[in-house]
């Protein structure tokens, strides 16, 4: 009884209304997924949605994949609390797309089939390179998944008024079970539609709130900034509040900026989306759509963040159950009462659900296609069994994500996302760029770069203050932090590039030049690229 009374006071809005709106979202998307799943016959259907999406559709889905809860709740909250320094995140996340657009998207689409490993192993030794690429894919997906699941638990405490660990665990389990259902039934096509619906809802919701906030200040950005400075102090308008404290924290920011800008083009769940469109030209259009949608969304978050800072204030936000992450929901409540809060909360849940589904299908495809079919069965798996293995993997990953999500409840989750970006930038991007642009690149270079990048990023995190020795660490009482920064990027990313270079130069084995020629011709012309399946 007492616990119930306590939760009553800490939650905002009406939990039942929040749950109702969320249930509506689930019902609509389930119908869409069921309808989309009718044509899931072949591997190309299940993994790549029959390559039948258009550029604009896929671009919207990419935005859906990319704008995770960290983007929406995290950046709004960071701007509301730390002002300008929160804005720096969104710039890194956006500029990163130019790397994907200019160097990676079209060439990947032209040479690959379903996964990142298809491209990386194209002209190198198939089995070791595929295994390495699958390992880094699974590692990135795993860290990203854990962060999303943990974020889901934290969100509930605020939105549904569920404060106890048991209640939060049940919510994590429900999110996981729903996600398994979507991916199992809908495959890539169903998952893509969930992303599209979610992206549309998220961007529309943010747009309404942005216009609302601006209207309160006479559509004058300067007025809004002035109001934010009045409640939060002049310092919120310029950089330095979060990262400007010490020399070490400044260096940490450089490290983070490096991981953000180079990580995106190595995120496997983003790369896999390029295979759902019929041609490289559509892949280019998808990235263009994604860049516009994501960029405009981040401009909204700038207004929302400063709006929350001005209207609600830093102290109230930090005192709310969700902490920093509660800025956007609190702002919704302030503006539109329980109904807008319910809508925005449902969108936030949908965001987590959709991102988790996108990550799961990527990890399952990589395991079934790269590890099972190519490495274990040496490319001789029956076509039907590969998809069956993928479906079983979906269930296994779902269960692991649920258990992991329950395990990391209440942990510092921002580092998991930063780790995913750092691993993607150190382990995946060097090999992607080398294999697309450097003729001499060989198997040893790829293996050194992927395992070296992955290993160094994970080791540096383990020995960083995020894990031990500080107030905010996972282990507060012991101190084995040897590396002073919380982001490994500044060391592990150059190391990944260097290892690929040194590994290549020290190896005498020459790769087959005919296959290298084939890869280059195909990557630039689109000759022989996988075509859309016809139904």
């Amino acid at each position: 009884m007492i616990a119930a009374a306590v939760t009553e006071t800490t939650s905002v809005g009406e939990p039942l209304l929040n749950i109702g709106i969320f249930a509506g979202f689930v019902a609509i998307t389930l119908i869409v997924v069921l309808r989309a799943s009718r044509n899931n016959k072949t591997a190309a259907d299940y993994y790549a949605a029959g390559r039948s999406f258009t550029g604009p559709q896929n671009g919207t889905a990419i935005a859906g994949d990319y704008l995770s809860a960290a983007s929406f709740l995290g950046i709004c909250g960071a701007i509301a609390v730390n002002g300008y320094d929160g804005f720096l995140y969104s710039i890194g996340f956006l500029v990163a797309w130019l790397v994907a657009l200019l160097f990676v998207a079209e060439l990947m689409r032209n040479t690959g089939k379903f996964t990142m490993a298809d491209v990386l192993s194209f002209r190198l030794k198939q089995r070791p390179v595929r295994l390495a690429a699958a390992t880094t894919t699974l590692a990135v997906c795993f860290f990203y998944l854990l962060a999303q699941m943990a974020g889901a638990g934290g969100l509930v405490s605020l939105l549904l008024g569920i404060d106890q660990a048991v209640g939060q665990s049940i919510v994590v389990a429900v999110v996981g079970a729903l996600m398994i259902l979507y991916v199992l039934v809908g495959g890539m096509k169903g998952t893509t539609w969930v992303q599209i619906i979610k992206a549309a809802l998220l961007i529309a919701g943010a747009f309404i709130m942005t216009v609302w906030v601006l209207a309160l200040y006479g559509f004058n950005l300067s007025e809004l900034l002035g109001a934010a400075a009045e409640t939060g102090g002049e310092a919120v308008l310029s950089p330095g509040l979060q990262y400007g404290l010490t020399d070490l924290s400044r260096l940490d920011f450089v490290s983070l900026a490096l991981a953000l800008v180079l990580g995106t083009a190595g995120l496997p769940h983003v790369l896999m989306r390029f295979y759902t469109v019929p041609t490289a030209r559509e892949a280019r259009r998808s990235v263009v759509w994604a860049i516009w949608l994501i960029g405009i969304f981040y401009l909204f978050t700038l207004v929302l963040g400063y709006g929350a800072g001005a209207l609600i204030g830093k102290d109230t936000i930090l005192a709310a159950p969700g902490g920093v992450n509660s800025a956007a929901p609190l702002l919704a409540f302030e503006l539109g009462g329980p109904i807008l809060l319910g809508l925005i909360s449902a969108v936030a849940f949908a965001t987590i659900l959709a991102v988790v589904a996108g990550l799961t299908i990527t990890a399952a495809t990589s395991f079934a296609h790269d590890v099972y079919a190519s490495v274990i069965k040496r490319g001789k798996a029956e076509p039907g069994t590969e998809v069956r293995v993928a479906r079983i993997t979906v269930v296994v990953i779902g269960i692991v994500a649920i258990l992991g999500g329950i395990g990391v409840q209440g942990q510092n989750v921002a580092f998991l996302v930063a780790l995913a970006f750092a691993v993607a930038a150190s382990a995946n991007l060097p090999t992607i760029l080398y294999s697309l642009y450097w003729k001499r690149f060989n198997t040893r270079g790829a293996l050194w770069s992927m395992y070296g990048g992955l290993g160094s990023a994970v080791l540096l995190i383990v020995f960083s203050p995020v894990v031990s020795g500080a107030e905010t660490s996972i282990f507060k009482t012991v101190d084995f932090s040897l590396y002073p920064l919380s982001n490994p990027g500044i060391v592990s990313i150059p190391l990944g590039f260097l290892l690929g270079f040194v590994g290549t130069l020290t190896s005498r084995t020459l790769e087959n030049p005919a296959v290298a020629a084939e890869m280059e011709v195909r990557s630039l012309t689109g000759f022989g690229a996988e075509e859309a399946t016809k139904h």
Binding site: F87, I91, L98, K125, L237, R281, I291, S374, N512, F527
Partner: protein
């Protein structure tokens, strides 16, 4: 020998990719692509890191007011959005005009010479 699994790489052995790679149109396409994306890539990364370092180490400068409550830092930050949108638009226009027609031409040449092999699949 280097490819021990029948993956995507073995789809079209009859097409002479080494000759296609050495051909004049392909070398022109390759040069055109690289001489566009590499300098542009360097340029936007330099601009991004210049911005990051300014935001990180030049707080005073970034806090200089320009008009109303808008300061240099905010304008530079919004400038990153503008350049990202501009580079995107520029690259798409360049690809549509200069890369795609050439790539289409090379692809249709390859398809007609490798026709016998492809129709068997």
């Amino acid at each position: 020998m280097s490819n021990d699994a029948p993956g995507s790489a073995t789809s079209d052995r009859v097409t002479d990719f080494e000759r296609a790679q050495a051909s004049e149109p392909f070398q022109r396409l390759r040069k055109r692509h690289r001489s566009f994306v590499f300098p542009l890539g360097v340029a936007f990364l330099v601009w991004y890191f210049a911005y990051v370092l300014l935001a990180d180490y030049a707080h005073e400068f970034m806090a200089t007011p320009v008009f109303g409550n808008v300061n240099v830092g905010l304008l530079f930050g919004l400038g990153q959005f503008v350049t990202t949108f501009a580079i995107t638009t520029w690259y798409v226009a360049f690809s549509n005009r200069r890369l795609d027609p050439l790539a289409d031409e090379i692809r249709s040449d390859l398809t007609s010479t490798g026709h016998a092999a492809r129709s068997e699949r």
